[in-house]
């Protein structure tokens, strides 16, 4: 527990506190009055209002579209289900920059809809909302569908024998059981969309701005640290509240539900209604999840002189001599992979230790106070998901710049920041598995003569190994896609893929646009490849708690 705590204190709490302090301190004096001034600013109020509004709308829309999908995945058996399950998961691990690019290619200027019908959505809020649904569809399907598949269908049958019709049985029995999972998924989606950065940065234009985007603008464009600090604190408080609510619903979800093996509850659809639901879900997935990615790929090949790998060629040939690139795109790919691997390693060590500590402490926590301490630690690990990555990135720059910890020029700065985002995924993936290891297995091994080390080696490791691989894949994917912090701390001559994409999109010209699409496609293929490799490992639906 000590190492993860130290890691968080040094690389998370310290930079965040430092930057907030720098914003609010003036000549050694706290200027808390700044908070009031900033909050009263109509522009800030507008941003706040939009942040909350779009997050709520995105969450509602995601639930509306994804809940039928959750049902289909939980209860129906159909050919290609495993593949589809993996496909649905791909958007979740895609870098926000790629998603932004994909939707730009679909609904933006010169995008597919623009070409076909002259429809452009990139100036409306719909592009942002749809991109958020795209992103978070899997969160709902996995969280709700995972539980739904494990609910015993005989609970509904019991209600029907007692005189409840099909719908009444669902409403009275299944819905209450699913309630906490739906709430947890909704809160997660709300959290992700509330802190949305890359998507809004690319699709929002000058009109729409979330808190996170505003923090970035205030810090990077206007160098107005005090305002950024206040905004960070507001976002921090909101995230803290959301996480507390989430922890509470998760705890309620653990109430005595009787779960069965999900493989036994799924059957082939029967009757016209069920087939219609299945096809409807497939259509939604095709239009909403697959099409943006397909269009992205299509645009990356749509060179001026007809379809061809022209943009890829220019990417490959662009050396340092090319004025549009400070560095060759191929180097950006290499940077990304190297940073991602290092970040994965850090996240695995820190997250693995944290998960192990949580498992041990929970088991031995006898007093309520100790239990609360453990839950507090649990929640702390989730914080990096919600705290402004921009703040973390900027905080890194201003705190880790003096001895004994001068990391500013160190190669390790980027992986450290990326690992922060990876740790929550590692913990969430490993915790359920570690907790599920039956203590009696260890006892049985011990009675048979295994030393404690051998017990861990023979009992825990084989069970946890899959989870470690899955956690590594998740950490790798989110590290690859990390944008908010990396954009600050990656040295100009060592950009990662998302940073390079954002730079290209920031410039005018068809070549830059096409190259951004091509680079996004490469990034997508790498992320999707990592994920699909994971799906082969993952036996069933133990995706943790996302």
């Amino acid at each position: 527990m000590a190492l993860p705590l130290a890691f968080f204190a040094l690389f998370f709490a310290y930079p965040v506190v430092a930057i907030v302090g720098r914003g609010l301190k003036d000549g050694g004096q706290w200027r808390l009055g700044r908070i009031g001034e900033v909050v009263a600013d109509p522009d800030v109020l507008h941003v706040l209002w939009f942040t909350v509004w779009q997050a709520a709308a995105s969450t509602a829309l995601t639930l509306l579209i994804a809940l039928p999908g959750a049902y289909v995945f939980a209860r129906f058996d159909f050919p290609g289900k495993q593949v589809l399950r993996a496909v649905v998961m791909v958007p979740f691990v895609l870098p926000t920059v790629v998603v932004g690019s994909a939707f730009l290619a679909l609904v933006g200027r010169g995008g597919l809809l623009d070409d076909l019908w002259g429809v452009r959505l990139d100036t409306s809020v719909w592009a942002i909302l749809l991109a958020h649904v795209f992103f978070n569809y899997a969160v709902v399907v996995r969280t709700v569908g995972g539980l739904w598949g494990q609910l015993d269908p005989r609970q509904e049958e019991a209600a029907r024998v007692l005189g409840a019709g099909r719908f009444t049985a669902w409403r009275r029995v299944t819905l209450p059981a699913l309630g906490p999972a739906v709430a947890a998924a909704a809160l997660m989606v709300f959290l992700f969309t509330f802190t949305s950065f890359g998507v809004v940065q690319i699709l929002g234009g000058p009109t729409f701005s979330t808190l996170e985007v505003e923090i970035y603008r205030q810090t990077a464009d206007f160098l107005d640290l005090p305002t950024a600090a206040v905004l960070t604190m507001i976002q921090f408080a909101a995230v803290l509240g959301l996480l507390a609510l989430h922890a509470w619903t998760v705890r309620r979800r653990e109430s005595a539900l009787r779960l069965v093996d999900a493989a036994q509850t799924a059957r082939r659809p029967r009757g016209r209604g069920q087939w219609a639901l299945l096809w409807g879900t497939l259509a939604v997935i095709a239009v909403l999840l697959v099409m943006p990615l397909a269009v992205l790929v299509e645009r990356s090949f749509a060179a001026p002189g007809g379809y061809g790998p022209a943009f890829y060629d220019t990417l490959l040939s662009a050396g340092s001599a090319d004025s549009t690139f400070a560095v060759a795109p191929l180097d950006a790919l290499w940077n990304s992979l190297a940073y991602g691997a290092a970040a994965t390693l850090i996240a695995l060590v820190v997250g693995g230790l944290a998960a192990a500590a949580l498992t041990l402490r929970t088991r031995s926590a006898e007093t309520p106070a100790a239990g609360q301490l453990v839950r507090g630690f649990d929640a702390l690990l989730m914080l990096p998901l919600g705290v402004s990555a921009v703040t973390v990135g900027f905080g890194f720059l201003i705190t880790l710049d003096e001895p004994p910890l001068d990391l500013r020029s160190s190669w390790w700065l980027v992986p450290l920041a990326q690992a922060l985002v990876g740790v929550p995924f590692v913990v969430r993936t490993m915790l359920p598995v570690l907790r599920a290891v039956d203590g009696r297995l260890r006892e049985a091994a011990a009675v048979l003569g295994a030393s404690p080390w051998r017990v861990w080696r023979e009992v825990d490791l084989p069970i946890v190994r899959r989870a470690v691989l899955i956690a590594a894949g998740f950490a790798f994917a989110v590290s690859l896609g990390e944008f908010g912090a990396t954009v600050f701390i990656a040295r100009p001559d060592q950009p990662t893929l998302p940073v390079a994409v954002a730079r290209l999109l920031g410039r005018a010209g068809e070549l830059n646009y096409g190259q951004a699409m091509a680079l996004s496609t490469i990034l997508m293929v790498v992320c999707a490849g990592a994920l699909l490799a994971l799906e082969r490992i993952r036996p069933t639906d133990h995706s943790g708690e996302f």
């Binding site: 005989r154 609970q155 029907r160 024998v161 005189g163 009444t168």
Partner: protein, 356 residues
């Protein structure tokens, strides 16, 4: 037609040729042309090993499983177009399936609420039923806080609350320990008698079936192997399968000639009126009598097990397969002793050729 009209008036439940296939249409059906009648106020227990189609039978009657062929009649009415919640039957699930998010009263009152009973009536019925099943005042308790036996009682109360015309029980006492089970069987039988409930139960436990039922139906691979009162089934198992399922293993091939049958154990007397010819023969353990060593069929005692009221002996005869015998404790020989045996005709049963 007149014959059918006559029976519809008498039978609460009538199954005619009910067949259920899972998966492909080939292979063994889960239920194979099952015919079964249950009269009002009758307690019928379906007995069979796991996989014999017992639970599927209940699910078909409840409308939770579509039959591929055959008819289900409840009080004379065909149920094929009637959805589960309008059939007016009760089903107690094997693992109870209490709703974990509701308390005891919420579970018991569920069926009444579905029927739109008034709140006052719900409360009264819940209180009555909890009293009846021996859990007075348990209304507000959480389901998770109940012991196995208590959960079973609540599940029973919940199934009884809407006054189903037919109550079905799936392994009603399966998860309980032996002592509790034996006590509850007696309680259940008394309760169903008092309430005049028609009951169709399934179990794999013969003790449970014999103690609970007016009539026992033994199932094998989706077919009915034998129907009869507990005493009939116990005394005269119809097939080798039934005999072995009831725990009788002294079954051999035999040829009946007059008053005795020729078996690998030598001549065994058979009951009067047995037809001549080849058959399978069962000798119940009580029908294997010990004699002083020189007389009868010489055997070696290979094992003895104390069973409370008697001692079960495993004997290896000089000729033929091993035999099980039952004898009183004071007469029981030690393991390894040599004894002789004779057979008593009243415990010899001639079995139908088993359709295996």
């Amino acid at each position: 037609m007149t014959a059918q009209a006559d029976t519809t008036a008498r039978e609460m439940l009538r199954l005619g040729g009910v067949t259920v296939r899972f998966g492909t249409s080939e292979g063994q059906p889960a239920l194979d042309a099952v015919d079964l009648d249950v009269a009002p106020h009758e307690i019928v227990c379906v007995l069979g090993p796991s996989g014999s189609g017992k639970s599927t039978l209940l699910r078909v009657v409840a409308g939770l499983q579509q039959a591929d062929a055959g008819r289900v009649l409840l009080a004379g009415r065909d149920q094929s177009q009637v959805p589960t919640h309008r059939r007016g039957v009760g089903l107690m699930f094997q693992d109870h399936q209490l709703f974990p998010q509701r308390d005891v009263a919420g579970n018991v009152a569920f069926g009444l609420r579905m029927r739109g009973s008034s709140r006052a009536e719900q409360e009264r019925t819940v209180a009555e039923l909890l009293e009846l099943v021996g859990l007075p005042g348990a209304q507000r308790r959480a389901v998770a806080s109940l012991s196995g036996g208590e959960q079973q009682r609540v599940a029973l109360a919940r199934a009884l609350a809407p006054r189903p015309r037919l109550l079905m029980l799936d392994e009603p006492l399966g998860q309980l320990d032996r002592g509790l089970r034996e006590r509850l069987v007696v309680e259940l039988r008394r309760l169903f008698r008092e309430l005049g409930t028609t009951v169709l139960a399934v179990t794999h436990d013969q003790g449970e079936a014999f103690a609970l039922a007016d009539r026992v139906v033994v199932m094998q691979n989706g077919r009915i192997a034998q129907t009869g009162t507990p005493l009939e089934v116990w005394q005269r198992p119809a097939t080798e399968f039934v005999a072995r399922f009831l725990g009788f293993d002294n079954v051999v091939a035999a040829t009946v000639q007059g008053e005795a049958a020729v078996t690998p154990w030598g001549k065994v007397p058979v009951p009067e009126g047995t037809a001549d010819g080849p058959c399978r023969l069962l000798v119940r353990p009580a029908g294997v009598r010990l004699t002083p060593a020189p007389e009868g069929l010489p055997c070696t005692v290979t094992a003895r097990t104390f069973r409370g009221t008697h001692v079960a002996l495993l004997l290896q005869p000089t000729a033929g397969p091993r035999l099980e015998a039952a004898c009183a404790l004071r007469d029981a020989p030690e393991t390894g002793e040599r004894v002789g045996i004779a057979f008593a005709s009243e415990d010899v049963v001639v079995l139908d050729a088993a359709p295996e």
